[in-house]
Every structure is written in C-alpha cells, then in structure tokens.
C-alpha cells in the first residue's frame, strides 16, 4: 500500500528521531531500517530522508559528524540531541492522542 506524501511528511521527523535515538545512524542505514521495519510499506527515498534530516539538524534536534564506518568508508552519522529527545517525547504523546482520536472517528461502527 502506498501512502500519500503528505501523510509521510507529517510523521517522517518523529520516525527519524526515534531511530537515531537508538544509536547514531547514517542516511542509507536509516532508509534501510525504515523499509525493513515497515515490511517495505514505507519506501523512503533520498528526497524524503535527507531534507528531513537537514531540517532536524537545523532545528538542533540532531547533530552530525563524518566518521569512518567499519567498511572503511566515510559516512555522516546523525545522533539525537537532548532537545531532540524532549521533542520526540512530545511527538510520541501527541501521536498517541491523535491516532486514538482519528481511529475513534474513522473506525467507528456507526453508519454514515
């Protein structure tokens, strides 16, 4: 199932923050992880991920550094900041309330 880009854009930032909160990750690794965890339901591309990462970095929710990976290649790793963790907590609680409210409306048994 393909999701609309508006829907994805709204949740991309909390998802990326959640992933880099687990461990520092680089872009390709994030896309691979997202696609695997969602069973390819999300098919993120560079055009979705990198603008999102750069917005988070500009807002100081993540910071980045170039590091040598185990393969010997230079990669840009992103990790969450303290401000990012606080933002993520707020977003998770917001999403929980929001999804419950939307589900209550969309999945109700009343006939339209």
């Amino acid at each position: 199932m393909k999701f609309s880009s508006d829907l994805i854009r709204g949740v991309a930032e909390p998802i990326v923050l959640r992933l880099v909160a687990e461990r520092p990750m680089y872009g390709y690794e994030i896309i691979k992880d997202v696609n695997q965890r969602t069973n390819q339901a999300f098919e993120w591309k560079e055009g979705t991920l990198y603008p999102c990462l750069h917005r988070l970095e500009a807002a100081k929710l993540v910071d980045s550094e170039w590091r040598e990976a185990t393969s010997g290649k230079q990669r840009k790793y992103y990790r969450i900041t303290r401000k990012g963790r606080a933002f993520l907590r707020d977003k998770v609680s917001e999403w929980t309330s929001f999804s419950a409210a939307v589900s209550a409306l969309l999945l109700c048994s009343h006939e339209a």
Binding site: K45, Y50, P51, C52, A58, K76
Partner: protein, 189 residues
C-alpha cells in the same frame, strides 16, 4: 558516459540549489554520493551487473531537481544564518585587521626609538679591534699571481694575446650552451 560522470551529473542537479553556500553544498554532495555508492554496492551484492546497478541506484534516487528543491527548502534558514554570520565576520575582520596593524606600527615605532637611543654595547675605542690577521691575509692575496691581463709592465702584444684568449673562451662557452639547448631531449619515463 561513464559511471562517475553519470553520478556527478545527478549530484550537480541535486545540489545546484545550495551553491550559494559552498561548504554546505560540498557536504550534502558527499553525503548523497555516499548514499548512491551504498545503493550500487547493495545491487552488486544481489548479483546485478554494474551497469544495471548504477541505473537502478539512480532510478531509486528519484528526480534530482525535486530532491534539490526539497534540500533547499530544508536548508534555507540555515543558509541564511550562515550567510549572515559570514558577512558579519567579513565586516568585522577589515576594521579589526586595520586596528591590529595600527597597534603593531605604534609598538614598532616605540621599539625603534628605544634601540636608536640606548645601545647595550659600549662604544669601541680606537685600535681596540685586532686588524693584524686581516692585513696578513690581504698581503698574501696580493702576492699571488693574477689571473688576467698584466696590469702594468706588460707589452702591447701580451695584452692583445690575453684578450684574444678570453674572447675565444667565451665563444666556446656560448657554443656549448647553444648545442646543449638544441640537443633533443629523451624522455626517461
């Protein structure tokens, strides 16, 4: 078009919107390049041919212009702030360098006056410096036979012989220079 050129073309399109900030542009370019390389490696590991791997990696990347637009939107605020910071540094740097130069000039001026007015060495007395070794060396040099035309006492003939020898010497030197410069050079690599 080879692999590197195709990737470079896509990266040029994707990062052209960030050219106003060269440092950021290079950083994003390196990041995208690393991502494309990883995607190609994944397809190669799956057994896809090199040409197909590149084609699939660039197809997955999506339209480069669209990626560029999104990157500009995401970085616009940061670019503005960085541009302002650069401008502020440039504006502050010129007056600061003039000020530092002026301070250095004043300090050097004062130090120069001190050096001229006060010397740490006492004035030398007449005959204090031993000149005998120098005088002996000069006498020794004068006693050696001179290489050149006889300065005095030589006949007109000996002067003209010396002169012709000297001119033939310089002709030979010139000839050897010309032949060495026109000699064909052999590449040793």
């Amino acid at each position: 078009m080879d692999k590197a050129e195709r990737i470079a073309r896509v990266l040029d399109k994707a990062t052209s919107s960030l050219k106003a900030d060269p440092e950021l542009c290079l950083d994003v370019r390196a990041e995208l390049q690393s991502h494309i390389d990883d995607t190609i490696d994944r397809y190669l590991a799956e057994g896809t041919s090199e040409a197909d791997s590149l084609g699939r990696a660039l197809a997955v990347f999506g339209p480069a212009e669209e990626v560029g637009k999104r990157l500009l939107e995401a970085n616009r605020r940061r670019m503005k702030l960085r541009a302002l910071a650069r401008m502020a540094v440039r504006r502050a740097l010129v007056p600061a360098s003039i000020l530092v130069a002026a301070i250095l000039c004043v300090q050097l001026w004062h130090r120069g006056e001190d050096i001229l007015s006060v010397s740490k060495y006492p004035p030398a007395e007449p005959g204090a410096l031993p000149c005998e070794p120098l005088k002996a060396a000069a006498r020794g040099a004068a006693a050696l036979p001179r290489w050149g035309p006889p300065s005095s006492g030589g006949s007109q003939r000996s002067i003209s012989i010396w002169s012709s020898r000297r001119s033939s010497c310089s002709c030979r030197l010139m000839y050897s220079r010309i032949t060495s410069s026109s000699r064909p050079k052999v590449e040793t690599k």
